[in-house]
Symmetry: C2
Subunit: 684 residues, 2 copies
C-alpha cells in the first residue's frame, strides 16, 4: 500500500519499489531506488542502454493494476531510435518514458549495468559485469572568458556532476587531443574512464567526439610456458569476440621452466632476451585476436594476465634467478597493476594491465586464477583442485580454509620426455583400450571420431596419419597396460613370454610394448618403453604426493570432490587417472573437469574488478605448503610410484576394474624403479 | 615542575618537553613529542642526521639544572662516526645518547627535517623543506619458504613499520633490480619514496643497497619564451647546487608568443616541432646543470616548471591554437602532476614533474609562481605585483582578495622592436642621464662600472664595445629625454631648433636623438627614434592600464606598495618608471624588486609539496580579469600614452623632478600618436 498519493513504480526482477511524482522518467526512478538500469548517455535518448519493458494489467503479487496510460506516450526520440536501430515491440526507453500512474517495469538482462555472463558449466559461477573501464557520455560547458577554467576542468566537472564520479585524473595521452575532440563534438563527448581498483584513482583514458557508438575491449591471457592463450572480450557486454593462441616464443630458450631459468643464469642478457620474446609474442597474439575480431588493438583498454611465477617475472622484466633456488623468493607476490606501456604492449596508450597475485614461489598467478574460477574458498564440501601442467598446482579446501602447493610433475603429462610422446594435435593417440585377453590395443587419434579397429578408420586419418601419443593418451595407455597385465604393480613391462604377446619385445635391457607400426607406409613405430612407464610413474607420484600432503595438513583421508583443471585436465579419463593412482580416491562421478580454469579466472578478473580484490584477499588467506621442505612429501613420493601405489588407499578401484596380480621382476630390475634416487626437481 | 619521577627532557628551540624513563634515546623522546629531528636510518647510528647539542648547567627559564651525566656516555657508534666523518664538539647522535637525568637538548637547524632555506630578501618568506621525495633506510626481513611473500612486500612492510608510511606502491622501474639490490645490501637498503601530493599515493621510486650516502635532486625551471632558467637543488638540504640558463630553442619559430602560435597554425606539424625543440632544450639544460654540479641526471627525481600558457601547452605537447583566439581556452588550467617520462625528460626513470596551475588563458603558471613567491594573498597591505616580460602579468591584492590580469606590453621592454634595442648583455646601455641644460647624455653599459664621461670608460668597454640599448636602458632613456625637454608630453621628439641640440636630427618625417656615434671606429650609431618612443609609450600604457583596471576592480586609487618581478623588473629604476607613467603612483621607497620571482616560486614548489596545494588553492581564489573584454582597459589605454599621462594621477612626480612644459607638435603630427588605433594585441 502506498503511503503517498504519487504513483507507485515497481521494478522487476529486483522487486524494488517507490512512489514518484507524475512526470518522473523511469531512468530517474530507477536511479533513485538503486535499480541496476544501464545508461551511457545519461538519459539523453542517445545510447538506448536503458530499454525497459513495462507490463500492463493486474498484478496480484504486487497488488497493483497497471493501466495502458501508466506511462507518457511513445515519443519522437523513441520513434527515431526504433526506426534507426530497431527495438523490441513493447519496450520503452527508460529516459523518455515518464510515470503517469502505477506501473510495473521489467529491466531486461541486457539493460542491466551488472549484466551476467552465463558460463556453460552448471557448477561454475556466472560472471557479473563490472569492468575496470566504462563509457560515459557528457555535455561540457563551453569556455567563457569570465570563467577561465581549462577545457579539462570543465569536462571533469561535467563527468562528476552527471555521473557522480569521484575526483578524476586524466591520462597524459588525452591532453594532446582533448581540445579538438571537444570542439569537433560540439562540446558533447564520450569518455572512457578507468575506474581503477575500487575507484581509488579514476582516470579519463580516452575521449571521443559526440556519442561513441563502438565498444571497448579487454584481453584475458593465460600465459603458459608452452602456449599463450587469449580471449578478447567486449568490456560492455562481456562477450568473447575472439579466442586465439600461439606457442610461447620463449620455447627456443628451453622447453621447461627450469631450463629457462638456467638460460638466464648462463647468459648475460638471457632474462632480457626472454622478456623481449614473450612481449613480442604477446603483441603478435593481440594483433591476431584483433584481426579475427576486426577491431584495432588501440581499442584494447585493459588486459589481465595469469601465469606461473617464472613467466610472471620474465613478462614483467624481472630476472627469474631467485626462483631457481631456495627459498624461491618472488620479487613481488601481490597483484601487479600497471600501465600496458610498461610491458611494451601495443594497445591503447593508456591501457592498464593486471596480473593476479602469486600464491608462492612455485604457485603462481595461474593457480590464483584457478582459485578465482573454481572458488574452493566458497565451497561447502572439501574440494581438491588440480591444475595439471608441467608443474601441478594443487588447491585443497572449503569455505573454512584453503591450502595450496605445487608439485614438480615434469612434462610427461604433456607428452614430453615420452619416447612416442607429442603435444595434443591431430594424429596424436588420445584414447586407448587394450583387450585383457589378446593384449591387442585399439585407440582413437585426435582429428578422427573413430576407433582404430573400426571400418573406415584408415581413411578418417589420412590427412594427419598416426604420429604419436599425447598426454592424456599416455595415461590411458599405461593404465590399460596395467589392467591388461602388460605392466605390473611396480611398473615393469613383461616379456613376450610373461605377457603372452609379441607386442612386448626386448628393447635394450627392458621391454617395450608396440602400439602401432606405421613403418610400412613411411610412418612411425609407436611404442611404450619401460622408461616411458617410469616417467609417468614419477609424474603421477609427484601429483599424488602433493595432493596427499595437503590432505595430511587438512587431516583428512578423503576429499568430497576433485576438479581437474587445465586443457590437459579436460581430457583425462577419471577412471584411468584413478587406476594409475594419479589422484586420491574419490567417487568417479565426483571427479569433474574445469577446462582452462586459469583462463576463465583471467576472464573473470578482466570483466569484474571486484573479483580482483576478492582473489587478492583469498590469496592472502590461502596457506601455502612448500613441498620442497616437507619430509612427508618425500615419504609420499617414495611410496607412490607403484601402479596403483596401494589398493588400500584406493577402495574405489575395486568397483572399477580388477587389476591382475602380476610381477615381472625376475631378480634383476635393470631400470632401478622410479621411487628412488632419480627424483629430479622440475618446475613449471 | 615534573608530574613524574622520570627525568625531564626539554627540546629547544621548540620548547617541547616531557618526562621519559631513564634509557630513552633522545631521538625516541623527540619523536614522541613531535619534535622536528631528522633521521634517514631510523636510529641505527648510520646517517648522523639526528645530531643534537645537549646543554649543561642551570636553566632558570626552564627551572632545571642539567648535570654532566644527564645523558649516557659517548659511545663507540658516535666515536666511529666522528672519527670517520667529523662532528662538532659537544654534539651527540640523538639515536645513541639516552636520557639519564633532566636535560636540555638543542636541535640545530641542520638536524631538522623541515629545515629552513633562508632567502636573502628580508620581506621574502623562507622556504620550509618538505620535498615530495624523501630517503628512508630500512632493514628488510629475509625470504622464508614458510612465508612465501615477495621481496617487495617485505620491503613495503619494513618501510611501513619503521617509518609509519601509508600504503605504498612501487614504481615499475624498481621491480627489475629490486631483488639484486636487497641481496647486495644484505637486506639493508635505502629507498627514495615519492610521497606524492599530500601523501595520496606514495610510491617507492628508487632502492639503493645499504645506506645511501648521496643525495637526491630536483630542478626548478622558469620556462620563458626567450630564456629557460633552471636551479638544480639538493632535495635534502634545499641548497641550490647549480644555476644555469639557455635560450629557448623555440625562438627560431618566432620571437614572441603570438608568432609561435601562428607557426603552429600555419604548419601541419608546427606545434609538435616546437614541443620537440623545447624538450630537447630542456634536456640540454639539465645536462648542463648536472655537469656543473657533477651529478648524474638520473639523480634528478623531481622537477617543477613555471611558464606562460603557450609555453605550458607546447611543453606538454598540446597545440596552443586555442590560446591564439578568444575565448583563449586552456586545455587544462589546474596544476599538472605527471611522470617526467611523459615529457621525454632524461632524468630518473621514475622522476615526477609538476607544473603550477595557470590562472587564465593569458595568465600562466609563471604568474602563479610569482603569487607563490610574493604571496599577495598573505599581505596585510595592498600590493601590486608586476612581472614585466613580453607580456606583463599583474596581481593586485591583500589577504582578503587577489585580482590578476595580463597586459599585452609587447617586447619593447625587452629591447625588441626598438631601433637600437638589444637584449641585456655586455655592451648594452643600461643606465642613462641627460643634462637638462646641454642635452648631452652620459650612460653606463653592461660590463663596466663606469659612466661614459668618466676617464677610463673607453678602456673599460674595450671587449664589448657599445652595441645598443637594453630594456631598462630604454626606459631610463625616454624618461631622461622627457626630463631634459627633448620629448614632449604627447611623445614627440623636438627638432634641433626646439630642443637646442644637434643631437636631435630629422630622421624621415620625425626627429631622432643621437645617443652615441661609434661609426668612426666601425661601431654602431645609437639613436632613439620617434618610433621607439611610440613603442615605449604603448608598452607602458598597456602595463599601466592593466594595473589601473585592477585598481578600479578593487575600487582603490592608490596601492600601498609595488613589487617589480622578473629579471627586467630587477633593473628598472623606480624613479624613471614613475616619470614614464609605467606604474601607478606610489612612494618610491615602496617600490621594490623581487628579482626572478617566478623562478623562486618554482623553487618553493620544488622544495615544499605543501606549497603546491597552497598555490593551487590560492589560484582557485584569485579573481581573473580578462583585459580583452573590459571596456575600461581600452579607456585607460587610450588615456595612458602621454609621458606621464596625467600629473594629477602622479602627485609623487612633484617630489621627484620638475617636468618641462614643452609641446613639439607644430600642427602635423605625422606619427599619429600612440593612443589611437594602432594598438595591437600581443601575447607573451
Amino acid at each position: 500500500m502506498s503511503t503517498s498519493n504519487d504513483p507507485l513504480v515497481i521494478f522487476t526482477p529486483s522487486g524494488k519499489r517507490g512512489n514518484f511524482p507524475v512526470g518522473t522518467p523511469i531512468l530517474t526512478a530507477a536511479r533513485q531506488l538503486g535499480v541496476d538500469l544501464d545508461s551511457v548517455c545519461g538519459g539523453r535518448g542517445i545510447c538506448s542502454k536503458c530499454q525497459v519493458q513495462p507490463s500492463y494489467g493486474e498484478f496480484s503479487k504486487h497488488g497493483v493494476t497497471v493501466e495502458d496510460d501508466a506511462l507518457t506516450e511513445w515519443n519522437s526520440v523513441e520513434e527515431r531510435y526504433k526506426s534507426k536501430r530497431g527495438m523490441i515491440d513493447g519496450r520503452r526507453l527508460g529516459c523518455q518514458a515518464a510515470v503517469q500512474g502505477d506501473v510495473v517495469i521489467d529491466v531486461p538482462p541486457e539493460s542491466q549495468v551488472h549484466k551476467q555472463v552465463v558460463r556453460k558449466r552448471a557448477e561454475a559461477r556466472d560472471i557479473t559485469m563490472n569492468p575496470s573501464t566504462k563509457l560515459f557520455y557528457v555535455e561540457v560547458q563551453e569556455p567563457d572568458m569570465h570563467d577561465p577554467s581549462g577545457d579539462l576542468e570543465r569536462l571533469v566537472a561535467a563527468l562528476r556532476k552527471d555521473w557522480e564520479l569521484p575526483e578524476l585524473e586524466v591520462d597524459f595521452s588525452v591532453l594532446g587531443y582533448l581540445q579538438q575532440a571537444l570542439r569537433k563534438g560540439e562540446w558533447k563527448v564520450t569518455c572512457a574512464v578507468h575506474l581503477g581498483d575500487d575507484y581509488v584513482s579514476p582516470r579519463i583514458v580516452h575521449v571521443w567526439s559526440g556519442y561513441y557508438e563502438g565498444s571497448i575491449y579487454g584481453m584475458a591471457v593465460d600465459l603458459g610456458s608452452t602456449t599463450i592463450a587469449a580471449h578478447l572480450c567486449d568490456l560492455q557486454t562481456g562477450e568473447v569476440i575472439a579466442s586465439t593462441g600461439i606457442m610461447n616464443p620463449q620455447i627456443r630458450f628451453g622447453e621447461d621452466l627450469m631450463s629457462r631459468v638456467s638460460y638466464s643464469m648462463m647468459n648475460d642478457n638471457g632474462a632480457a632476451e626472454m622478456t623481449l620474446a614473450v612481449r613480442n609474442g604477446m603483441n603478435a597474439l593481440f594483433v591476431q585476436a584483433c584481426a579475427e575480431a576486426q577491431i584495432d588493438p588501440a581499442e584494447i583498454m585493459d588486459a589481465v594476465f595469469v601465469c606461473n611465477p617464472v613467466m610472471h617475472h620474465l613478462f614483467l622484466g624481472i630476472d627469474p634467478f631467485e626462483l631457481g633456488q631456495a627459498p624461491f623468493a618472488l620479487a613481488t607476490s601481490d597483484a601487479v597493476s600497471t600501465r600496458a606501456k610498461n610491458l611494451d604492449l601495443k594497445v591503447h596508450p593508456a591501457a592498464r594491465v593486471y596480473l593476479l597475485p602469486c600464491i608462492a614461489g612455485h604457485v603462481g598467478a595461474d593457480a590464483a586464477a584457478v582459485a578465482l574460477s573454481e572458488a574452493p574458498d566458497k565451497s561447502e564440501d572439501l574440494v581438491l583442485v588440480v591444475d595439471v601442467g608441467t608443474n601441478a598446482e594443487i588447491l585443497l579446501g572449503n569455505k573454512d580454509k584453503v591450502l595450496a602447493c605445487s608439485s614438480p610433475t615434469g612434462p610427461a603429462f604433456e607428452g614430453a620426455q615420452i619416447s612416442s610422446g607429442q603435444r595434443a594435435a591431430p594424429g596424436a593417440i588420445e584414447r586407448v583400450e587394450i583387450d585383457p585377453v589378446t593384449k591387442e590395443p585399439r585407440f582413437r587419434v585426435i582429428g578422427s571420431d573413430m576407433w582404430s579397429d573400426e571400418i573406415g578408420f584408415a581413411e578418417s586419418i589420412l590427412s594427419s596419419g598416426i604420429t604419436g601419443i599425447c598426454g592424456s593418451g599416455i595415461i590411458e595407455m599405461v593404465a590399460e597396460m596395467r589392467i591388461a597385465g602388460i605392466v605390473d604393480g611396480p611398473g615393469l613391462i613383461g616379456s613376450p613370454e610373461q605377457t603372452g604377446t609379441d607386442r612386448c619385445f626386448l628393447d635394450g635391457r627392458t621391454h617395450s610394448y608396440l602400439v602401432w607400426d606405421g613403418t610400412a607406409n613411411g610412418g612411425p613405430k609407436i611404442t611404450v618403453t619401460n622408461r616411458d612407464i617410469r616417467e609417468i610413474q614419477m609424474a603421477k607420484a609427484a601429483l599424488y604426493s602433493g595432493a596427499r600432503l595437503l590432505m595430511d595438513k587438512f587431516d583428512v583421508d578423503v576429499v568430497d570432490r576433485i576438479v581437474l583443471a587445465g586443457a590437459f585436465g579436460a581430457h583425462i579419463s577419471p577412471k584411468h587417472a584413478t587406476i594409475l593412482g594419479m589422484i586420491p580416491d574419490c567417487d568417479l562421478d565426483k571427479v569433474t573437469s574445469a577446462g582452462n580454469a586459469a583462463g576463465t579466472g583471467a576472464r573473470i578478473a578482466l570483466l569484474n574488478v571486484e573479483a580482483r580484490s576478492d582473489i587478492e584477499e583469498t590469496v592472502r588467506k590461502i596457506h601455502k605448503i612448500e613441498t620442497a621442505i616437507e619430509p612427508r612429501f618425500q615419504e609420499h613420493f617414495v611410496n607412490a610410484s607403484a601402479i596403483p601405489n596401494s589398493v588400500e588407499k584406493f577402495p574405489i578401484l575395486e568397483s572399477i576394474v580388477p587389476l591382475p596380480d602380476v610381477n615381472f621382476n625376475t631378480g634383476g630390475d635393470n631400470d632401478g624403479g622410479a621411487g628412488g634416487g632419480r627424483r629430479r626437481r622440475r618446475r613449471g
